[in-house]
């Protein structure tokens, strides 16, 4: 198991290297320098700024020194937020985004799995059609549409819930979490339904029934373990998706998280910020993919023993 983790982490190094190189090259091949849209800057000031951000060095030197910084965990200063480093900005936004993503994931897993399992118990009945139609609706109602609609209904019309902010007014975390989680709840519902249907048609479920076990036990003990494997495998990609989704949700609900930073930095052409955050996101996604793989591995005794045998 340890060997698996180590080998996967080692594999992550080239991936991260590709991410760093590609983003670095992309940004440095951008037409116009980072300061070109600020017309009022006198040439000597611009030169001083370029020297400060090492832009006067040849590209490969910049690349090497940036790589060195990144290895040390230093993403450098922000272009646009003067006096603040990218690290500081990430540290400020991360807890907010992490909390939002956590709530959204909880919403998605809880609603998704229960709806999917519920539907799979009686396929092709109302108990199947109703949650699955809702799931389809969830997939076809992207967060940038669902968010505004929820705001319109619960915030503006009914005035039940606050429509912006994060942790300022009680209840202001509810709508963002639902908006971000709903689409994933829908996906997870479809995945867990499919997985459960597959498992419930297996011979060993028939064996469990023939043994006289209760339906509840059959589903919870014999069904879920295999049926949720597709959901677990989806957790890694889902997390990557949640990060992307946080761009939209944090913009709509004006939440000071990483997603909103990223979008504003993109508009402001804050290159060091984008570079740093991209690498940071890529690292996070790699870690979460690894975690979801590990979880899937741990659930499958055959795989688990093989990796143990490899030790």
């Amino acid at each position: 198991m340890l060997r698996f983790i180590v080998s996967r982490l080692l594999q992550a190094i080239p991936v991260l290297l590709v991410v760093i190189s590609v983003t670095f090259l992309l940004i440095h091949s951008a037409p116009g320098g980072p300061f070109s849209d600020e017309k009022a800057v006198p040439p000597e000031v611009a030169r001083a700024l370029e020297a400060q951000y090492k832009l006067d060095q040849p590209l490969w030197q910049q690349y090497v020194s940036y790589l060195g910084d990144v290895v040390r965990g230093d993403f450098g200063p922000s272009f646009k937020y003067s006096g603040r480093t990218v690290n500081e900005l990430i540290a400020a936004g991360l807890p907010v985004t992490a909390e939002l993503a956590l709530y959204a994931m909880l919403v998605a897993l809880f609603i998704g799995i229960s709806a999917g399992v519920f539907a799979a118990i009686r396929p092709n009945s109302l108990q199947d059609y109703i949650p699955m139609s809702a799931a389809m609706l969830g997939i076809c109602m992207p967060s940038f549409l669902l968010g505004p609609i929820l705001i319109l209904i619960f915030g503006i019309q009914l005035e039940w819930l606050p429509i912006s902010g994060w942790g300022d007014i009680p209840g202001d975390k509810i709508l963002p979490a639902i908006t971000l989680g709903a689409g994933y709840a829908a996906y997870i519902a479809r995945l867990s339904r499919g997985g459960m249907l597959e498992v419930l048609s297996q011979d060993y479920i028939r064996t469990a029934r023939a043994k006289g076990l209760s339906e509840r036990l059959i589903i919870l003990k014999h069904g879920l373990r295999g049926g949720l494997i597709p959901v677990i495998a989806f957790l890694g990609p889902a997390f990557a998706g949640l990060l992307g989704g946080s761009f939209v949700v944090e913009t709509i609900f004006q939440i000071p998280g990483l997603g909103r930073f990223y979008v504003t930095s993109a508009f402001n052409r804050d290159y060091t910020m984008i570079l740093g955050m991209t690498i940071f996101f890529a690292g996070l996604i790699i870690v979460f993919n690894l975690l979801s793989d590990l979880l899937a591995l741990w659930l499958n005794p055959k795989l688990r023993q093989q990796t143990r045998g490899g030790n």
Partner: protein, 537 residues
């Protein structure tokens, strides 16, 4: 009073394409300590009959249309779900055909064994995990699992097929049921393992005094174990009597047909094997490959230093159990599996030394018939297209003559000309195998490798296909390598037989010589394990 008495059971499946009567008016009874065998070919309704007793059929599409099944004076067909749950496992237990898929791969066998004890429907009878574990280990010991205490925490994939079936049997018996239903419990197992499992079931039945319903497609298996036999076909009773009567004095035409279809005895007329140098000479052939499913990429020696020759005109049998490498050997000879070392000489040419493009002209001369007649036919090609492809590709026919030649082929393998435009999924298994045979002989080969060509077929169909193969070998002067796990089939069709075990050739002899005087212990074991369709034996 019988333990189980079933009267006029009727079950049908309501599908999109109409209602299918799977079980049509079946009645039988089983007493304590008695074994009833229900025998039938695929689609006979034998399994559906038993599944309906425990309410294990998927509903829909299954509907129980009528009948009574009195178990200890209680109707199984009308009792409520809660009562059914109490009956399952505790009074009536079941074991299934495929021990590979019938155990939950995610749970240890110990956990699965003790479940009926620790989740007993009657809460007062529930055992603690600890006492349940003691009982389970005792039972594992009784069914012949070695080191039951340490094996208790193993997962199903760590057991061989035979051992898994033993675990299944232990699981069925753990709550001391009074009726045990066995659904083809040995069909997925090798013949030597089958003999062991049958012996175990017989022995457990005696010591535990349970009634057994034994479902099988194989009269040979049933002969040694059953007291009574019920023969079913297409949902209806064909024959029902004591085992002796069914085997020796049956008045049912269908039973007689089944019995006569079982291959038995020697080959009637030897194929005209020519003397002299062999058509195919296999010299020290080795085919190794890496097992990627194993974490260490273990080297599998599928064929390990095998030498023999096949004379022109003979049918050469190759027998072995699963994993013996017999299929790989067949594919290696045809150069469909890359050989590691050694040579295959086909009428003077070393096939292994040829380049990929040089082998193409040899291919039409050497053909293959596969086990699974569904998988071996392209599902998107009609019979006509399948048969015309080799004819046109090898310019055996041209556009004007191809239709006629395809029709000729269809006549030769016994397919109706009118079905030329049908697709494989519209045929039965036996007909599909006829198509595959037609395709194999289309390119006018000299040599055919038949890899378990009748294993997936019902016994009556199997007899027909064997007859077809024999007549084609005779008519077209073919040489054949006939690969099978079924020794009776091999005996009835082959001139010489080679026995394989773990990649090695163990013994090679003329068929009747091998049967009369097997030299190696493994061959003797194999021959002893063959079930015979004779209750006295």
């Amino acid at each position: 009073m019988a333990l189980l008495e079933v009267n006029n059971l009727k079950v049908s499946f309501h599908t999109r394409n109409g209602v299918v009567k799977a079980v049509d008016d079946i009645s039988f009874s089983v007493n304590r300590g008695e074994t009833l065998a229900i025998v039938g070919e695929s689609g006979s309704g034998k399994s559906v009959t038993c599944y309906s007793l425990l309410d294990l059929l998927p509903k829909p599409p299954a509907v129980i249309e009528g009948g009574i099944a009195k178990f200890d004076n209680e109707d199984l067909l009308t009792c409520n779900a809660e009562r059914m749950r109490q009956l399952r496992g505790n009074h009536i237990a079941m074991i299934f055909q495929d021990p590979m898929t019938s155990l939950n791969p995610f749970l240890t066998i110990g956990e699965q064994l003790i479940e009926p004890l620790i989740y007993h429907p009657d809460k007062t009878q529930r055992l603690s995990r600890k006492t349940a574990q003691v009982e389970a280990i005792d039972l594992l010991n009784e069914v012949g699992i070695i080191n039951p205490t340490s094996r208790f925490n193993s997962y199903p994939h760590e057991f061989s097929g035979g051992m898994r079936q033993r675990v299944m049997i232990a699981m069925a018996l753990i709550n001391k049921p009074r009726l045990l239903i066995c659904d083809e419990p040995t069909t997925a197992l090798d013949v030597t393992i089958q003999a062991q499992i049958l012996k175990l079931i017989k022995q457990l039945q005696k010591t535990r005094d349970v009634a057994v319903i034994f479902i099988s497609h194989d009269l040979g298996v049933v002969a040694g174990i059953a007291d009574k036999v019920l023969v079913m076909r297409e949902g209806k009773t064909q024959d029902q009597n004591t085992t002796q009567e069914v085997f020796y004095n049956s008045t049912s035409d269908y039973t007689k047909k089944l019995l006569s279809a079982i291959p038995s005895g020697a080959k009637i007329k030897p194929s005209g094997a020519q003397q002299g140098s062999p058509l195919i000479a296999v010299n020290q052939l080795k085919t190794y490959f890496k097992d990627f499913s194993d974490s260490k990429n273990k080297l599998v020696k599928a064929v390990d230093d095998v030498s023999f020759g096949i004379q022109k005109g003979e049918i050469f049998g190759l027998v072995g159990e699963s994993g013996s490498g017999k299929s790989t050997l067949g594919r290696s000879i045809l150069q469909l599996a890359p050989i590691t070392a050694g040579s295959v000489i086909y009428s003077g040419t070393d096939l292994g030394a040829l380049k990929a493009s040089q082998i193409l002209p040899w291919r039409p001369k050497m053909q293959m018939i596969f086990q699974d007649p569904y998988a071996s036919l392209n599902p998107r090609m009609t019979v006509y297209e399948t048969l015309a492809e080799p004819l046109l590709y090898h310019a055996i026919a041209n556009k004007q003559t191809v239709t006629k030649q395809v029709q000729q082929l269809m006549d030769d393998v016994g397919l109706a000309r009118s079905s030329a435009l049908k697709y494989p999924h519209e045929f039965s298994g036996g007909q599909r195998q006829r198509i595959a045979i037609g395709r194999a002989i289309a390119s006018q080969p000299e040599f055919i490798v038949a890899d378990e060509p009748v294993s997936a077929l019902d016994v009556t169909i199997q007899a027909q296909i064997l007859e077809l193969i024999l007549s084609l070998v005779d008519k077209r002067n073919l040489t054949m390598l006939f690969i099978s796990h079924d020794l009776s089939v091999v005996r009835s069709i082959c001139d010489r037989v080679a026995v394989m075990q773990q990649g090695k050739l163990v013994e090679l002899a003329d068929t009747e010589e091998l049967w009369a005087r097997p030299q190696m212990p493994y061959t003797q074991e194999l021959l002893n394990a063959i079930p015979t369709a004779d209750p006295k034996n």
